[in-house]
Each structure stands twice: as C-alpha cells, then as structure tokens.
Symmetry: C2
Subunit: 333 residues, 2 copies
DNA sequence: AGGGCTTAGTTATACGTAACACTTCGGTGA
DNA sequence: TCACCGAAGTGTTACGTATAACTAAGCCCT
C-alpha cells in the first residue's frame, strides 16, 4: 500500500539530515542531552524545518498510550459562562502541555450519552460540567479519569464546585435585609444538582426568618420561557416583593414579565440573578446577581484533573462567589 | 515493556471469542458480510461486550491515515452565535460519522497562530470562522483541507458566507424609509473581513441617497466598550438620528449610552444591531436587528468541508439573512 | 474425478513514533 | 597495554488496528 498521506515523516527528516530516525526522535523530543551532538541536533532541526515536518499525532499517541488531550463536556454554549470555564481550563492545560477538546453536549445530536463517539479524539481524561447523572454514569463506564464541575460531591470521583449555596445565602440575606418577606423562586427546569442546591439553600435560609413566604416556579433556561413562567407566577397567588432567579437569563425574562404586568423593577419588584453574564449589565436596571468566576472554575477543574492523572488526590475546596449589588433590588416599600 | 494501558484490545476480544484478531476487526467494523459466519460474529460481539472493549482510536487513526475529526476554529465563545454554528456543523458531521472538535481561538492562551498545538487531535480538516488573515495563513501552512466561514471569498480555499451585505442593505433601506438621514455607524474594533463588509456596504447604500451623512465610531465588541464609544460619538459632532451597529452587543451599549445622555430609544434615537442574539429581545425596547441563521451557517460550512474532503468542488452560495423589525427603530420625528 | 467457486476464516504487514538495547570509537586511568 | 567508560549514535521493536493476501474446507457442475 502506498503512503496515504504525503506529509513528511520523521524518517524523511532522518534521510534529509543523514541520521537515523531514532536520532530525529531524540532531537525533536528534546531528549538528546548527552546523546546527540549539538551539531547533529542542529542539522536535524534544520531538516525538519525545511521539510515542514510535523509529527503524526496518531502515531505518537499510539506509541505513548496517552494523548495529552482532555475532554471538557459542557451542557451548552448558550451563555458565555462556559466560555470562561473553557478559557481557564485551557490556560492551565496549555501550561502542562495538554490540549482541551470541547464537547457541548447537545440535545438532538447523536447519542448524548456518548461524548466519545462525537469527539473522536483519544482522551486522557474528562471534565464534565453541570451534567445530569445519566451522562456521568456513561462517562464513568469508560473508566477515564473524570472530574466533575458543579455536581453532587457525594457522587464517586473528584468534584470541583462553586460555593453556590453561599451565593444563595448572600442573596437571601441581602433581600431580607432590605425588608423583603414574600419571595418567588424562579428555578431552572433542568434536573441538575446545581439547581437543586439553589432551591434547598433558599428554602433553608428563609425558614430561619419568621413571617416569610416562598413560592416556586420553574422555567426552561431562556428569556422567553422565563417571561411566560414569571408572568403566570406573578399573576397567580399572593403578592411577592422579590424574585430570586437561578440564572441571569431567567431574571431578564422576569423583567419582561414585570413590564407587561405594569410592575416596575425595583420599586415594585426586586429581582436577583446568578452568573453575572454580560446580559446582567445590559438590561435596565442593571441586575443584582451573584458573580461566578468561570475562568477560575475552569482552572481549578483542570488542576484537579491533572492531579488525578498524576495519581494524586485532588483537594476539594469550594470556589467562593460574591453578590454584585446593582439596581434591581431595593428596600421594600 | 508491559502494556501501558489495561484496556482490552481487539486481540483480547479475539482470545475470548476464540477467533483471530482479524476476525474481530472485520466483525466490529461491519465488514463481515460473507466473510464471517453469523454465529461467529455474534460470539465476537458478545466477547467485546463482556470485556467492555472500545477500539483504540489512536491506533485506528494511524492505520487509516484519517481521523474523521475536523476542527472548528471560532474567535471566541462570548455569544451564542458560535454555539449555533457548532451545533449545525456537529449535526451534519454526525450524520457522516465525523466528530467536531471546537477550538475557541483565545487571546492569551498559547500561540494563537497554531490551533493544532492546542487541539492535539489529529485532524482531517478545518473550518475557520471569522478569523483574521494571519491565523488563516498559519492554518494553510499546514495544508489541511480548509473551509472559511464569514471570510474574504477572494482568499484561496473554499468559503461559506452569510449574505451580510444584503443584511446591511435591508437595514439601510429600513432606516431610510423611516426618514432617517443622519447616521452613526458603530463598528467593531476588530480587523476582520466581516466587519469591513458592513462598513463598505452601509457607506455604499447611503451614498445613493442625497442629503445623508454618516459618521463612524469603533469599539471593542463588548457592552461596556460600546457604551463608552457611543457616548463619545453621540456627544461630539452633529446630531444623528440612527445608530447602525455591527453587532447586538454594541447596540446594547448604545442603549446604555443613550440612557445616560437622556436620549430615548427609539423616539430620539433609532438603533439597529446584527446577529439577533438572545440579548436583542432582553433589552427594552426590543432591538431591530439582522437575524443570522447560525445553525444553517454551521451546516453549510460542514457540508462544504465534507465536499472538499471528497475531492469535490464546494458550491459557494451566500446564506440569506433577514431584518427583524422590532421596537428600537421608528420614524424620524 | 477434478477444476472452480463460495464460505469462513487466518496470517502477515504497515501505519509513524518513542525508547530500549546495542555498537562503535576515541580517550583514560591503573 | 588493556579493560573500562562516556559520547554519539544506530538497529529494532512495540503500540493496536485494518486490510490485502492467503488457506482450507465444502459443494456444485461437467
């Protein structure tokens, strides 16, 4: 069979430089200290340059049994939050000679239970962010080193989490401090640990204060969906003075519902979000929300995975978050 | 040397099933019609299942000389536009047994000129979206099949484009029809073909109408940046009645600047965007903008790349776009 | 009866790299 | 003088897969 590709191989470089293929491998792999003379090394590098040689990664991966590539699985790319996670993860990975492949787990494309079919690259490990349980088990079935972000820490494997519960605590105390007692929680319509935490923590915090009420509505994570859900929830039932949203996009939907209902934010209705997306400062008034440091999150996730790959035990501290108080919350009238 | 990985290989499956490794490869590769009996095939599949066999992709890629993986290079992930592009591309790829690896070309991570160092996977081809010229030449240097999205069609290689010029034409005619004559163009501060087209087309269209004026300001693509640039541009110089923005995020910044300056949108100032992000309907009033079909864009890009990989000549039609007229534009007073 | 065809496999090999084991050679201390 | 050593390489092999080339049996047809 003739050579499939026309790309030069290390053997071509060897022939050009008048050395053996092994020497080329040594020189280009930076393993040549005391094994190859400086002059020969220079000749090899020169030959590689003139031929435009690039090592065949499939061959290298096969030989080494590892790829220095990890997969970052994210639920979607519809907000810049995961862009930040990727950026942080890629920065750390790059420092350690690793590459990051991004797999946005889609609805409707292929079997979502099998990221590996889609991201054909051979992988050394996986970081899965905010994934549902069934996706995680599919990944674990593959026995790849795995770090989970924003997921139930009681699950097997390493996890790295934002301190979401503390963020919700800050929101609750902020609103309680402004005199609010009657709350609507607009939650995400997605079965995910990270959203369960929000609901649980908010409930817990409000229960500590006598005379508070809490209703709950659920919505798909989109502005339009949140608008409908919020409109329904705000018209039905007793009056609320504050809406706590699981996500900034949901809060943007609440703004629109409020406008439709003739409620003014914040004088009639205080609203809070979570994430601190660009959206949060685009809308008027600017949104009081919990800022999550997505890049730091990605960095920590990658550090944890690299630790696992080195056989270490990753240390699991939660990443602090903090409330950005802006114009969407005010003292209850 | 002992086996590096403990994962079962096709040889392990062969031993378990009592056949040769070749038979395993034939059966699992669905190439066994008339070469292996149904009974043996069933035995092989059973053995693979019990051992949890998954083929080593590095070995397969090396053997076949191709990876069925393509790289999608996007400039950033800070809007959901590229999520749509990815989704469309991945959908088409999946139908053809290809995987898509996403490379968000970052500022500050590694050498941005070399996506291949970061996405370590071996690749069959590249789709590059809205990339600057120098990045493109770096990719071409690698002699991988390449399709460029939203890029200068006069460059070598295949391109797939949105009909941005027609979108700008629709914006111009819409605003001219509402009586506007004095325009501000808020352009993106990024050297990219796609933004040059906007500027050129707007200028061309307005020049056709006597008595029009056009000023230009530039801003980084962010709400905060656009706010500052728009505020400066709106206070300096003569009065404008319409602001045409290269991007919805810029338009959101214009809203904020207008609010600061006491100008009301749309009664004092009409504003248009481009992309139709979620942001466009989150802000008040909802933004008149050009809707770009990101998913279709991604699909067409992938189709073009697959055509190139099959040795065909991809056909290059522009993808139509259309203006969504909403509340941010009105008749000039 | 035997050549040819079909079925059901097996054997052998190559993909390109990294690294172990080996060789060659000039110097060097005892 | 000679065994030994380090420097500077080379020869060879293995990673796991897919497939071309081969084999061996069974059957049909003339």
């Amino acid at each position: 069979m003739p050579r499939a590709s026309t790309r030069p191989t290390s053997r071509d470089v060897a022939r050009e430089a008048g050395v053996s293929q092994a020497a080329v491998s040594l020189v280009l792999g930076e393993k040549w200290r005391g094994r190859v003379s400086e002059a020969t090394a220079a000749r090899v590098r020169e030959a590689a340059r003139t031929l435009g040689y690039r090592p065949n990664l499939a061959a290298r991966n096969l030989r080494l049994g590892r790829t220095r590539t990890v997969l970052l699985v994210v639920p979607a790319l519809t907000t810049e939050f995961f862009a930040g996670v990727y950026t942080g993860a890629a920065r750390v990975a790059s420092r350690h000679g690793f590459g990051v492949v991004l797999y946005p787990s889609p609805e409707g494309i292929g079997p979502a239970r099998d990221p590996f079919a889609s991201a054909q690259a051979a992988l050394d490990g996986v970081i899965a962010s905010s994934m549902a349980a069934e996706a995680l088990t599919a990944i674990r079935g593959d026995q790849l080193p795995l770090v989970m972000l924003d997921s139930d820490p009681s699950a097997p494997g390493a996890t790295v989490n934002l301190d979401i519960a503390d963020g919700v605590r800050q929101v609750a105390e902020h609103l309680l401090g402004l005199g609010h007692r009657h709350f609507l929680h607009l939650g995400a319509d997605v079965p995910s640990w990270t959203f369960e935490v929000r609901a649980r923590e908010l409930e817990t915090r409000l229960r500590l204060v006598p005379g508070t009420s809490l209703r709950t509505a659920r919505s798909p994570i989109s502005i339009k969906g949140a608008e409908a859900a919020a409109e329904a929830a705000l018209t039905a039932g007793e009056r609320v003075t504050a809406v706590v949203c699981d996500d900034d996009q949901l809060a943007a939907g609440v703004y629109k519902a409020a406008r439709r209902l003739g409620l003014r934010v914040p004088s009639d209705l205080s609203v809070t979000g979570m994430d601190d997306l660009a959206l949060a400062t685009a809308i008027d008034p600017e949104l009081t929300t919990v800022r999550l440091d997505a890049e730091l999150f990605g960095e920590r996730g990658m550090q944890a995975l690299l630790a696992v790959l080195d056989g270490e035990e990753p240390s699991g501290t939660d990443i602090p978050v903090h409330l950005e108080v802006r114009g969407s919350t005010t003292r209850v009238p």
